[in-house]
């Protein structure tokens, strides 16, 4: 299709979406002059441009809609619900015609001839007639309109190409920084070590900027997605015989296209759930002294580098007693254990496949597929779903997602002689154990992690590669330790046994080609520093293959909470520049970074490094503890800066030694791993850093 035609379709779709929105507004408040003017303008524009392209059918229908709105505008006809329905029907018909324009360049399908064209002509006439007779009934209700989100101003192929370029640039950057850090190779370079490292720095900065710009270019306002919901809510409410208003907040919040597309279905599902099961009918609401009209609110925000959407309603909330009874009935819990379940445990049961508390099955929802699909979809994108219920007052579902899916932190592991990439989003923790600690239950290898059995999946074996037998080890013999990556598999956890854990880094996620796509165990591929490709594991799929789901049990996290009254906390053990040791609680630590000394710049009294989009303020951790030299500097003995990133600060340490687990109530100075260690939390340190800077 020609470029100009494609643009026409994209624009017309945008106008229709806005028109739909305005019509729903008008239906609620016929006196809204702005909405009427906007609606009129949208129809008029569509009519005008169609005339230009010679799409007579679209033009005729748009003209009829315009005339109907014109009568409303000059006050000679009221804007009734009936008229709204007919106009919405017309929008659906216009959408179908636009689809046909998109597929074959005509507004009647297949060259504008034959039965299709006749049928469309008849439909246009019928709709146009109905619009002209103010009292006429709506022509018909069509099914769900296919709302396209394909209206983007930038050619997607260009965007993708840009992403490729960035990927390449990232790779060059990594190689160059590697060269700069290896003194032997660097001295060969003509520019000498300092020139080389300076060049590397520049490249590094450029890469980060380019990366940030491109990521931003992929962002789109959530408003684009919101457009479809007023209509959806209107139609669903009518179908259920309820009165429901919709509040949309955070129109301007920007998020990656791919994320936007991926959450459209889950959000639609949540809205359906709210209207069908969440909110009460008008009579019941009056009885409970609530306003007759229920409210569904959708809110999008950015919180700390994450995209958050909430769908809430002011309906009846989740009846926890019914969930409990249903869980016992479905044998998900025993009658004895059920009373001990907390509210959160009960809400989490709603995510169990096939679990539904809906009293009846309707055409909209209540078939027991739903929340589990929502959770699976969101988790596959590296996000999380949580529920908050206030019985009698409403339910809020919160979805958290990364802002972009194209670049993601990941762990590089080695299994069966190949390297694989595990997305950080599905990774819980890493453990290294002696082979003798691995036990078996009927040949299934397991590891006891904090009192719970963790089913183990031998990655190389699961992928059909050469593997080292896990269970043939003798206790007490000198054996290489076993590396286990603990990953989430839905609500469960599993341990992926790998040969080696190599590195964590930011990877540029590449879509799989036609052959790789057919192998569902991989989510794509990426290019590593040495220029070779590595496959990205779809961890959930791999573990699913091996770990049998034996009905539902309590999720790992819940059970862990039940069995361990004081959960352990994880400490990042840091060596200070003066040799002292600090254990920093891991919650609140954003990342660990290493910077070249030359990257540090002085701004007045402060030392900063370019970081992401802005600057990271470097503060020596030692100076915050009020011991020794007040300004010990931030450079470690190896000539680099090792920084623990908390908030906007990089806390400089001599080195990061380990991550260990201690009791949750360990405070002050404690003996950790046989050394006196001062325990600190990120918020404490940030507060102190703010005070000195």
């Amino acid at each position: 299709m020609e470029e100009i035609l494609r643009e026409f379709v994209a624009e017309a779709r945008e106008h229709l979406e806005r028109l739909e929105h305005d019509l729903v507004v008008l239906e609620r408040d016929p006196a809204d002059g702005d909405a009427l003017a906007n609606a009129f303008r949208a129809v008029h524009t569509i009519k005008g441009t169609c005339g230009f392209f010679g799409f007579a059918r679209i033009e005729a229908l748009a003209h009829a809609a315009e005339s109907a709105l014109d009568l409303v505008r000059d006050g000679s006809a009221p804007f009734t619900a009936n008229l709204a329905s007919r106009l919405l029907d017309a929008i659906d018909a216009l959408r179908r015609m636009l689809e046909s324009v998109e597929s074959d360049g005509t507004d009647a399908g297949k060259g504008g001839a034959g039965a299709d064209a006749d049928a469309i002509d008849a439909e246009v006439r019928e709709l146009a007639d109905a619009l002209e007779r103010p009292g006429a009934a709506p022509v018909r209700r069509t099914g769900d309109a296919q709302v396209s989100s394909g209206s983007v101003r930038i050619d997607v192929a260009t965007l993708d190409r840009l992403m490729d370029l960035v990927g390449e640039l990232v790779f060059v950057r990594n190689r160059l920084t590697g060269l700069a850090q290896a003194p032997g190779e660097a001295s060969d370079a003509r520019a000498g070590p300092t020139g080389l490292s300076r060049a590397a720095q520049r490249l590094d900065r450029l890469t980060k900027r380019l990366q940030a710009t491109v990521v931003r270019a992929r962002l789109e306002p959530v408003g684009r997605l919101w457009g479809r919901f007023p209509r959806l809510v209107r139609d669903l409410a009518a179908e259920c015989g309820k009165r429901v208003g919709l509040v949309l907040r955070g129109n301007e919040t920007e998020v990656d296209r791919a994320v936007l597309e991926a959450i459209a279905d889950p959000l639609t599902h949540l809205v359906r759930n709210s209207i069908d099961h969440g909110v009460e009918g008008p009579a019941e609401r009056t009885r409970r002294s609530k306003p007759e009209e229920a409210v569904v609110e959708m809110r999008a925000t950015q919180e700390g580098g994450q995209f958050v959407v909430e769908v809430s309603d002011d309906g009846r909330g989740v009846d926890l007693d019914r969930v409990r009874a249903h869980a016992i009935e479905r044998r998900l819990v025993t009658p004895e254990a059920a009373p001990a379940l907390s509210d959160d445990d009960l809400l989490d049961l709603l995510f169990t496949p096939g679990f539904s508390t809906a009293g009846r099955v309707t055409s909209l929802s209540g078939r027991g597929v739903g929340m589990d699909v929502v959770r699976t979809n969101v988790e596959r994108l590296g996000g999380a779903v949580t529920l908050r219920s206030q019985p009698g007052r409403g339910l809020t579902t919160r979805i958290q997602l990364p802002l972009t899916l194209a670049i993601a932190p990941a762990l590089v592991v080695c299994a069966g002689g190949e390297r694989f990439v595990v997305p950080q989003a599905s990774l819980r923790e890493l453990v290294r154990v002696h082979p003798s600690e691995i036990e078996q239950v009927h040949e299934a290898p397991v590891y006891r992690l904090r009192g719970r059995l963790l089913p183990l999946v031998e990655l190389a074996g699961a992928l059909g590669l050469k593997s080292r037998p896990l269970l043939k080890c003798q206790p007490n013999r000198e054996e290489r330790s076993v590396s286990i990556a603990v990953v989430d598999v839905g609500p469960e956890r599993a341990g992926l046994v790998v040969d080696d854990i190599l590195d964590t880094r930011e990877i540029v996620v590449k879509p799989p080609g036609r052959l790789l796509r057919r192998q569902p165990l991989f989510a794509g591929a990426t290019i590593l520093d040495d220029g070779r490709a590595a496959l990205i594991l779809d961890v959930a799929r791999i573990a699913e293959r091996v770990v049998a789901h034996t009905g539902h049990r309590l999720s790992w996290a819940e059970e862990e909470a039940l069995f361990e009254p004081v959960p352990g906390v994880r400490l990042l053990l840091c060596r200070l520049l003066d040799g002292g040791r600090v254990g920093l609680r891991l919650d609140g630590v954003r990342r660990l970074e290493v910077f070249a000394k030359d990257a540090v710049e002085r701004v007045g009294e402060r030392e900063v490094v370019p970081y992401g989009d802005g600057l990271l303020h470097l503060v020596s951790l030692q100076s915050l503890l009020g011991s020794g030299d007040a300004h010990p500097g931030v450079v470690a003995c190896d000539g680099r800066v090792h920084a623990v990133v908390c908030g906007r600060f990089g806390l400089a340490v001599e080195s990061v030694e380990d991550v260990v687990e201690v009791d949750g109530d360990t405070r002050g100075t404690a003996l950790v791993d046989g050394h006196a260690t001062r325990i600190m939390t990120a918020p404490e340190l940030i507060e102190r850093a703010e005070a000195v800077s």
Binding site: D164, L165, G167, E168, F171, G416, E418, R419, L463, G464, L465, K510, P511, P512, G513, R514, L515, L516, R518, Q519, L521, F522, G524, A525, I527, G531, R532, A533, A534, L535
Partner: protein, 145 residues
């Protein structure tokens, strides 16, 4: 496929083959291959090409259904990158040949005694000075292509 005039030739095991040069996007002296575990026999793996990930096909497994030895080929081998629809596909070969003109006069239909599994893939044979080449339609040769 319409009769191609320019063909790119390559050697696989003991035979020489040719494909329509219009499909060829790139000729790489060696590619750094990453295997795809559990993939079909013909799928040799993936390799990076200027920021993209390209699937690689081991044609030997397509041409010879009994071919087993996947490991005998080094991980760095020459490849012919073809553009097929929106995708790039790398054909792993043993040796690169040339891009030459094959006049229609030097082109023959596939021999009648060709093995059944080859009939769909082979579009004909060509007589070059250096000897016979088997002309392939790589689109058909792709697994489930």
């Amino acid at each position: 496929m319409t009769a191609p005039n320019h063909i790119a030739t390559f050697r696989l095991m003991r035979g020489w083959y040719g494909v329509d040069v219009a499909l060829v996007r790139e000729i790489l002296p060696r590619v750094a291959l990453t295997r795809i575990p559990l993939a079909s026999r013909e799928t040799a793996g993936v390799f990076p090409l200027r920021g993209r990930i390209v699937d690689a096909i081991d044609l030997r497994c397509v041409l010879d259904p009994d071919f087993e030895e996947r490991r005998e080929r080094p991980r760095d081998c020459p490849a012919l990158v073809l553009k097929i629809g929106p995708d790039l596909i790398g054909l792993l070969v043993d040796q690169m040949g040339d891009v030459t003109i094959l006049p229609d006069a030097d082109r023959d239909p596939p021999p009648a005694n060709l093995a059944p599994h080859m009939r769909k893939i082979v579009t004909g044979t060509g007589r070059l000075e250096s000897g016979l080449v088997t002309l392939l339609d790589p689109v058909v040769a792709l697994p489930n292509g």
